[in-house]
Amino acid sequence: MLDLIKCEFMKLKRKKFIPFVFLSAFLFPIPITFLMATPRMLERYPNKTVLFDGLFNMVMGYGVIFLLPCIIGVIAAMLFFMERDNDTFKNLRTIPITSTQLIMAKIIVLFAFGIIFCLASMFATVICGSFSMEIHGIAYKLLVAIELGIFITAGTLPIIVLVVFFSKTYIFSILLCVFYSVASLTVETLFGTLPKWLCWLLPIPMTTLWGAGDMVKHGFPLNVTALEKIIPSTFQTVLILGLMAVISIYLIDFLYKKRGE
């Protein structure tokens, strides 16, 4: 399996989108840093330490939550269409590598990119924040970044099922993922009005709720009083997202096998 994963990374060599993943990690931290420097924001946060927490929360809570599903969608389209577009599946099958092994390797690569992107976003936030804020609590922020990378990737897998099901162009896959991100953010604005079960059934909004609750527990200055009843615990989040991921992987494998026949 390790060789398969290594080879999946090798296959992405010279793909122009990969450097963009790292560059896009700076897409939100830079403007949000400027936003945090506005008088209105400075009034809300009492000191530079709390201001950095606010910056981190906004980058992770909005930027990463919006951008990562799109990035995962594009990389998934690249990985899952690669064998079909280049007619290489026959070479792999005769090694022999089963479609399940291949799917598992590709899914692990997606999780790796999810974590890498979140870590890159976190480092971008630290770099941007270091100019005007006081950096602190790096260990916790590192952990949250890794957790968010795993959770958001798992939460994007249901949409990857559709990407594989439709097996259309890259543009279609990107549009599908952008729509998913926008829909998730829209749901997040309706948190107070939506029932708990619906918020927990939608993976990205559920991850946002978990993230907010976890940050509050670690002293972040967030007002989540109205959402207290719908914030899931880490166990509940892992259980629900894990279940969704398992079902999605099963469906992706089923569809991929069917396409390969």
Partner: protein, 307 residues
Amino acid sequence: MSKYVIETKNLTKQYGTQKSVADLNIHVQQGRIYGLLGRNGAGKTTTMKMLLGLTQPTSGEVAIWGKPLRTNEKKLLPRIGSLIESPGFYPNLTATENLRIFATLRGVPNRNAIKNALDLVGLPYKDKKLFSQYSLGMKQRLAIALAIMHDPELLILDEPINGLDPIGIAEVRSFIRDLCTERGKTILISSHILSEIALLADDIGIIDHGALLEEESLAELEAKSSRHIRFTVSSTTQAARILERGFHETQFTIQDDYKMRLHNLDISVGEIVTAFVENGLTVSEAYICEESLEDYFKRVTGGEGIA
């Protein structure tokens, strides 16, 4: 242990109501080149895909080295090298990088395997040219390099000379022959080009509309198709005796009790018929047959022939 490296039993592949391959029984012997000859769409590629587990047969069995492929893929496939249809590689990688991926996945222990394979097909090692910039001939060579890189015992090559220039065809033909004669590989090769199969194969299977029409050695097929005199007489045993004693002739083959072929056309047909009749034989047919290998294939494939 099986006598054959590849043996199929009533192998059938059906798409809807149409049979792409029907009750195919092929037998590939150890250390020989087996040429699967057929027109485009005859069922060659489907057959090869079934031999590699890429397509599941509707019915029938594939046995490789005497073991059923379906339950022994993990053991059997690593011993096989293959080239099926068009070459499939990653366009953003170089030839060496492409081969490295497959060598890693195959767990090829020989560090020089990639270099050796590329050398064998005449492609440069560690070249910066990407696969997407390759010509069709270079792509085909790379596909052959992939097939042989892990030093397999059996090679299944589907139209390996596709897209190659005449010099390339000669080179590929030569090293396929060498792989068989010098390194003892068993090779199954498909083609729609009769001359190619005739130059390369030891055994030939003629496939048409999914059915195997003939399966014989090249020597047998050539004998069948060469110029000869055909006789239908009341007793071939007696006729053979007359040819041996009266004409000192041994270049004949007896097909059954009544039919025989004389391969020496220097003897007068009239003289032989007279001798047969004088010795009490009834001669119902006697004619010179001048069928070329291509004429023969045309006949067995129902008159359409093969390029």
